[in-house]
């Protein structure tokens, strides 16, 4: 009989047994897919439509961006290690891995800022052509997502030092982790459809210079 009457006090009882916030995060990420989907669609529709340069093959440095993509991917690993540490109640390792994640994220952001600066110095701005417009807005909004993620990680570090992240609250870490992995996955897509697809054009341009 106990099982059929909802207990008065148990605020955590949910119909599916899943935490509200986790479901919220998944729904949000689903929605965010549409956000990035629309930005990526815009980029792809305008790909190759720029009337004047600089064109992608003139500015992209794929090895450089590959390194920063690798850095961002590794931050997903450290995020997993952080979550695993807090689930074991290991505060020390938890802090180390969260800080490591935030640092890797910041390195990625630094790389992006450097890349943007370089492109601007080569004459590519948001005003120059369709490539500049779509490239800066798409990768810029991804950068904003990473920045928000870094802020959340740093808040987590602060909360941890204030003793506010306990083992039984590891769900908070898990939520930020979900967000972080999502932002990583989006970068994999962007890296592919924005950078890697230009590899043949870059080769061709090099070959042309070689002749």
């Amino acid at each position: 009989m106990e099982a059929t009457i909802a207990p008065q006090h148990d605020e955590h009882a949910t119909t599916t047994g899943l935490d509200h916030r986790k479901m919220l995060m998944w729904t949000f990420l689903g929605s965010d897919c549409l956000f990035f989907g629309s930005l990526i669609a815009t980029y792809l529709i305008y790909r190759g439509q720029s009337i004047q340069g600089p064109f992608p093959y003139e500015v992209f440095d794929i090895p450089y961006t590959s390194v920063s993509a690798f850095v961002l991917l590794m931050s997903s690993l450290t995020m997993v290690l952080a979550l695993s540490a807090i689930q074991r109640g290991d505060q020390r390792n938890f802090r180390i891995w969260v800080i490591a994640t935030a640092v890797l994220g910041s390195v990625f952001l630094g790389g992006q800022v450097y890349e943007f600066t370089l492109f601007v110095s080569e004459g590519l701005t948001v005003k120059t052509n369709l490539f500049g417009t779509t490239f800066f807005v798409l990768t810029g909004f991804h950068g904003v997502h990473v920045t928000i993620g870094v802020f959340m990680l740093l808040s987590l570090v602060g909360a941890s030092f204030a003793g506010k992240v306990k083992q039984h609250q590891s769900i908070n870490v898990e939520l930020i982790g979900l967000y972080w992995h999502f932002v990583d996955i989006v970068w994999i897509v962007i890296f592919t459809v924005v950078y890697l697809v230009e590899a043949p054009a870059i080769e061709a341009a090099k070959a042309a210079v070689g002749h």
Partner: protein, 633 residues
């Protein structure tokens, strides 16, 4: 511990639910729902005044009642006000009031986020409308086709209010929708499985999914336009290769699901009202639910029917013609199910039911004119004429608004404890019904006769004079009936007849609890056994098909007096949703006025978010200690 955690935030968490501050800091879905509905009615009046200005200008040929620029702003802001500030939020108001009660919950999953949705809606609505104060209200039509909305062609700040207002409002809609998705999945009473859910809850769920998937698309379109206008980007600049079609596609990929966002809640409301007053279960419940799901999916496959005449090519036009015709099928299935629900029922013609029946009649007219322009060859003739204006008003006024008013009459006693005046209500209904048909019916004629929409004025040799005058008179009759509705609402709120818990002999859980609803909703969470559970507790249908009341039926056995309602833990009020919403609105408004305001807004929002994330609960005990919600997201 007790005082230590209370000051854990920047401000002590408020405790009082009395007075103005009790409303400002409330996180109770019922209060938020009432604020939503009240605010949306005010915006509805504002949108109605704009409509009357438009109708007055069109009442006779060569009129110069307002200037052409003001006229453009009037019809643009009329559409924006009605869609984003009246119909959508009134639906969300009903989500707030009804969904927790129909699923047997004490509140929504994220009460503070719910309050945030309301405040952001209020401020976003003010930001969108603010252009009027500067004589710079948006004048582009609600679809704001780029590149005509680029700075080169729309130099004043009208478009800036449009872009920023809609971006801010999008946050509100999406936060609300996330909340209801999680609430419906996760807070259903024991035994309330998916196919026992009331149809209104189902439609809320589908609408919410459409909201969280459609709004990101318009957000991207608005951001792109904003970058073009503020930073000189080239998204829609033809000289740089930018494509005007991109805006149209993004806008209508959002815009068509938006149409279903406006109508599905209305369908949910009539699916509750009709069975109650026919005293029969809803005919074809699973079919209605699946039709709703199919509409939700197919709503994504028809957007280009708004663009038949832009030259997409025969294949695209052909495909969208077929999908548009197909989406009429699930809608038609619903209409037949509603009619079959009433068939052989003992129908009580209350005002709520009259509105629901009126909904069916008018929505069918609007639906049929919709099918007539799903045919692309015919649409070439109708595109941008008053025929389309007639169509959208039959589905949005005859559909959405009629159903929402039905909901007002139906659920008013549940939340105020007083009945709305029926005699008055019926007079008001018939005036509205007649006025609505006189106002919008003739638009079919003049539209077929070639009168373009959004036209400032016309000459008298076109043969449109008579029906335009009729239309305007109908609009004023309609306006008068709305004033009567307001009068009825206010009067009934003050001195209406006292309502008991179950005045309509209802079918769903909300009628099992007292009117007005206590702040904890259910003293005990009910155990649900069947669809229309409350009805099943009151009546039994024998094998002879005759329905008998169950002796001493009705009450939930576990819902007796023995519950100590003071022990029910409910979320405490909070300042942070308001603070966060103010910050967000300033951030958006600052983009239009001065970036310094944006920066201040961003800081306020940051304070709001951190205050929110680390806000303690007021009644610390062992069980709730871990309930310090962390909502950085």
């Amino acid at each position: 511990m007790a005082t230590g955690t209370r000051t854990g935030g920047i401000l002590a968490r408020p405790t009082s639910m009395e007075g103005v501050w009790g409303w400002v800091t409330t996180v109770d879905a019922k209060r938020i729902g009432m604020m939503y509905i009240t605010t949306s009615i005010l915006f509805f009046l504002w949108g109605g005044i704009q409509a009357l200005v438009v109708r007055t200008q069109l009442s006779y040929p060569g009129a110069e009642f307002v200037s052409p620029d003001t006229y453009n702003s009037m019809f643009t802001m009329h559409a924006l006000t009605m869609i984003f500030l009246a119909i959508m939020p009134m639906s969300v108001g009903f989500f707030n009031l009804i969904v927790p009660l129909q699923i047997g919950a004490r509140d929504v999953a994220f009460p503070r986020m719910n309050a945030l949705s309301y405040w952001v809606y209020l401020f976003g609505g003010l930001l969108l409308s603010m252009g009027w104060l500067f004589g710079e209200a948006a004048s582009s039509g609600w679809f704001a086709y780029a590149p005509l909305t680029e700075s080169a062609y729309a130099a004043d700040r009208g478009m800036d209010f449009y872009v920023l207002g809609l971006l801010v409002l999008g946050v509100s809609s999406m936060a609300g929708a996330f909340n209801f998705i999680v609430t419906i999945i996760n807070l259903r009473a024991p035994g309330l499985t998916w196919f026992k859910l009331p149809v209104f809850v189902w439609m809320t769920f589908i609408t919410s999914i459409l909201l969280v998937t459609a709004f990101p698309v318009i957000t991207v379109a608005l951001i792109e336009l904003m970058f073009d206008r503020y930073l000189g980007a080239n998204f829609f600049v033809a000289a740089q290769g930018g494509d005007p079609l991109l805006w149209q596609h993004l806008f209508w990929v959002f815009g068509h699901p938006e149409v279903y966002i406006l109508i599905l809640p209305a369908m949910g409301i009539v699916s509750e009202v009709l069975p109650t007053f026919a005293r029969k279960p809803l005919f074809g419940y699973p079919v209605i639910v699946f039709s709703g799901i199919i509409i939700g999916v197919m709503g994504w496959m028809v957007w280009s029917h708004h663009m038949f005449t832009v030259g997409l090519g025969t294949v695209a036009v052909g495909v969208f013609t077929v999908t548009t015709m197909l989406i009429a099928v699930p809608t038609g299935v619903k209409v037949f199910s509603w009619m079959a629900t009433m068939w052989k029922g003992s129908i009580a013609l209350t005002t709520a039911n009259l509105y629901a029946i009126g909904f069916i009649a008018l929505f069918v007219i609007g639906g049929l004119s919709g099918v007539s322009h799903s045919m692309s060859s015919s649409d070439f003739q109708q595109q941008d004429t008053y025929y389309v204006v007639a169509h959208i008003h039959y589905v949005l006024f005859g559909g959405s608004i009629m159903a929402l008013f039905s909901g007002l009459y139906y659920w008013f006693p549940k939340f105020t404890g007083r009945m709305m005046n029926e005699r008055y209500g019926k007079i008001q209904f018939f005036l509205l019904f007649i006025g609505m048909n006189i106002a919008f019916g003739p638009m079919h004629w003049v539209g077929m006769d070639g009168m373009p929409r959004r036209i400032y004025t016309y000459t008298s040799n076109m043969g449109w004079d008579f029906w335009n005058m009729v239309s305007t008179l109908g609009a004023f009759l309609l306006g008068f009936s709305i004033l009567l509705l307001l009068h009825n609402l206010v009067r009934s709120f003050k001195k209406g007849e006292i309502a008991d818990a179950d005045p309509w002999d209802g079918r769903t859980l909300e009628w099992s609890i007292p009117s007005p609803v206590p702040h904890y909703n259910f003293a005990r969470i009910p155990n649900v056994v069947s669809r229309d559970d409350w009805w099943a507790r009151k009546y039994v249908t024998g094998e002879d098909g005759v329905t008998h009341p169950i002796p001493q039926g009705g009450a939930y056995a576990e819902n007796e007096e023995d519950v100590d309602v003071h022990s029910i833990h409910l979320p405490d009020p909070s300042y942070w949703p308001l603070v966060t919403a103010i910050g967000l609105a300033l951030m958006g408004g600052g983009v239009v006025f001065h970036l310094a305001i944006s920066i201040v807004g961003a800081l306020i929002m940051l304070v709001g978010i951190y205050g929110w994330a680390f806000e303690p609960v007021n009644e610390p005990d062992e069980e709730h200690e871990e309930h310090e919600e962390q909502v950085i997201n």
